[in-house]
């Protein structure tokens, strides 16, 4: 059982505040992804949980035990680093056995656990090699095996796939998900790759500027962004935003169209590109670029002077320079407060 509770954790480096009072609870065996652009504080948060960084204030609890004053070795965690950190002077076997030997396990147990995790990560045939004789993907496997062999309560991963090439990344992603689900550990996984986050996570914590903006299930984060930032960060292409003006009839004017909306004083209209379709009545869009992508076509247009993207069926005949009308799916329209940038529901 290893629930992780983070209470009011903040971190500043001199005048720079990397984290502003973060609160987060991660359930036992949950796969939590910390997602954000570089410099958003996600790695700092992970390193604070690991004990590699001391928080300026706040508490970290792992499995009902307060750990923020403990060194990394006493926290029951294992970590996978972005550059793998495979010890170059040790064989793969000794790398995986390193933590077990530190824990003074009997030799028979060490061998058994190393063999089992090596098998799990498909590196049994590499056990006698040194890090210098391994490819990036193999090193990655060694790093994960080394962490798994510890049978930790919590595995922390700092962008573990970002140094792999695209094809390998895809393969490792699926494999990691399977292996970690089976190991029944609580996982915190840091990435800037939204696809990785969506595909792996039980829950995603979207971070921006040292704050957690939203922590929710992937579909929820995607469908109902809690803030404008989440909508603009997640999704490729991201959400479209248009200014809205409140009309006398209580409806909202958006680019010459009227929509039902919230009862707020001011709001911004938002719609995902795939939630649009060509229709006789809708937002008038001036087509700039048409990119056929196979399964669908990405259309970049201008609506009311704003850049606007739509993902449409690939069998359409739209050409650049044309004017089309795009109708949004009504229940997919989202509204944001133009002042606070928070979602209005």
């Amino acid at each position: 059982m290893a629930e992780i509770v983070i209470k009011g954790v903040a971190k500043s480096f001199g005048a720079f505040t990397a984290l502003h009072s973060v609160d987060l609870t991660i359930a036992d065996q949950e796969f939590m992804v910390l997602l954000g652009a570089s410099g958003c504080g996600k790695t700092t948060l992970l390193r604070i949980i690991a004990g590699l960084e001391t928080p300026s204030q706040g508490e970290v609890w792992i499995g009902g035990r307060r750990v923020d004053h403990l060194p990394p070795r006493a926290r029951g965690i294992a970590m996978v680093f972005q550059n793998y950190a495979v010890f170059p002077h040790l064989t793969v076997f000794e790398n995986i056995a390193f933590g077990l030997r530190m824990a003074k396990l009997p030799q028979a147990d060490v061998t058994r656990r190393v063999m089992r995790t090596a098998e799990l990560m498909h590196i049994e045939q590499l056990l006698k090699r040194y890090s210098g004789e391994l490819s990036g993907g193999q090193r990655q496997r060694v790093a994960v095996a080394r962490a798994l062999a510890m049978e930790p309560d919590v595995i922390l991963m700092d962008e573990p796939l970002s140094n792999l090439d695209a094809l390998l990344r895809l393969e490792m992603r699926a494999e990691l998900k399977g292996v970690l689900a089976e190991s029944k550990t609580t996982t915190i996984y840091v990435t800037h790759d939204q696809v990785e986050a969506m595909s792996l996570a039980d829950r995603i914590s979207v971070m921006n500027g040292g704050y957690i903006v939203q922590a929710d299930r992937p579909t929820e984060v995607y469908r109902n962004p809690a803030a404008r930032f989440v909508g603009s960060f997640i999704g490729n292409p991201p959400m479209n935003f248009l200014p809205a003006r409140k009309g006398n009839n209580g409806r909202w004017h958006v680019a010459g169209q009227d929509f039902d909306g919230p009862k707020a004083q001011a709001a911004e209209f938002a719609i995902r590109p795939e939630d649009l379709h060509p229709a006789p009545i809708g937002l008038r869009a001036e087509v700039r670029v048409v990119e056929p992508l196979g399964p669908h076509t990405l259309v970049t247009a201008q609506v009311a002077g704003q850049p606007f993207r739509a993902i449409l069926e690939s069998d359409n005949q739209i050409k650049p320079g044309e004017e089309i009308t795009l109708a949004p799916i009504p229940d997919r329209i989202r509204w944001f407060d133009p002042e606070t940038h928070k979602a209005i529901t």
């Binding site: 060194p71 990394p72 070795r73 965690i77 680093f81 950190a85 933590g99 824990a103 080394r146």
Partner: protein, 280 residues
């Protein structure tokens, strides 16, 4: 095309001249280093009668008489042994103090870090002759004068900047994540250092130790000023310079240069690392 040809010829000439200067410069530098060494060895390895003769032969006659004479000269073995003792002690002292400093410089941020780095090098800018008299007085007062330890302390001070800089660059070359990984796998800071950093840094630390050895081995001024009975080889040779015959000087010179050359050659890669040139 044709109107492009005339300026091409001077360009070619300039390039030729440039290349000539380049190789001439390299040639000069190489000769600058090699000719004295060649002289030293040819005279040390020739019969005493050949030392004063001219022209020189390119290959020495491999007559061991000069070296034998040197070896049997009164006080030489003793001085040689002193040199070894001082150099080994220098090595231990400068690594013992320099490696922790290098580690701290590479791993920790502390106020005055840059200033400290400059200060370390500045110790080399301080002229030893200026320091010699007060140092001698202080050593006599504390009883360190004419001891192996006293001289080794001075040599350690000379070697320390290099020890600090070389180990600093060594430790900086070892990713901090390796240490952090060791901490998460159950190591204390010290255990992580011993199990991960040390094995990786050891060859470089040895190299920097060898360099400290060579600095002490070749140092003559402090050795001459601070020792009387327990002279090192350099001080001994300096002292007996005007009373010893020429073959002895050459043999002594060769005996001094030889270990230094071999050692420096063996660790050259790490000495480049000190200046931030990537080692291959």
């Amino acid at each position: 095309m044709s109107d492009l040809t005339p300026p091409a010829a001077p360009l070619q000439e300039a390039r030729y001249a440039g290349r000539f200067l380049f190789w001439a410069g390299i040639g000069l530098l190489v000769l600058w280093v090699l000719v004295p060494i060649w002289f030293l060895f040819i005279n040390a390895l020739s019969a005493p009668s050949e030392v004063t003769s001219f022209p020189k032969r390119f290959w020495p006659s491999f007559d061991m008489a000069s070296l034998q004479f040197f070896w049997n000269f009164q006080g030489v073995t003793n001085a040689l042994w002193n040199s070894v003792k001082v150099a080994v002690l220098t090595m231990i002292l400068s690594i013992g103090m320099g490696a922790p400093a290098g580690y701290a410089l590479s791993r920790f941020d502390f106020p005055g870090k840059e200033f400290f780095r400059v200060l370390v090098i500045m110790t080399r800018a301080f002229p030893l002759p200026l320091l010699a008299l007060p140092l001698a007085v202080m050593f006599i007062r504390t009883g360190l004068d004419d001891t192996i330890l006293g001289l080794a302390l001075v040599h350690a001070m000379l070697a320390l900047p290099f020890a600090v800089l070389i180990t600093y660059s060594l430790f900086s070359g070892i990713p901090v994540e390796l240490e952090e990984a060791a901490w998460t796998l159950g190591c204390t800071r010290l255990q992580a250092f011993i199990k991960v950093v040390l094995p990786l840094a050891l060859p470089g630390i040895m190299a920097s130790a060898v360099f400290a050895f060579v600095i002490s081995w070749n140092e003559v001024f402090a050795a001459a000023v601070l020792t009387i009975e327990n002279r090192t080889l350099t001080a001994f040779l300096l002292q007996s310079l005007n009373v010893s015959p020429l073959p002895l000087k050459f043999a002594g010179g060769a005996a001094l240069v030889m270990p230094a050359l071999i050692f420096i050659f063996a660790v050259r890669k790490y000495l480049f690392a000190m200046w931030g040139i990537a080692n291959r």
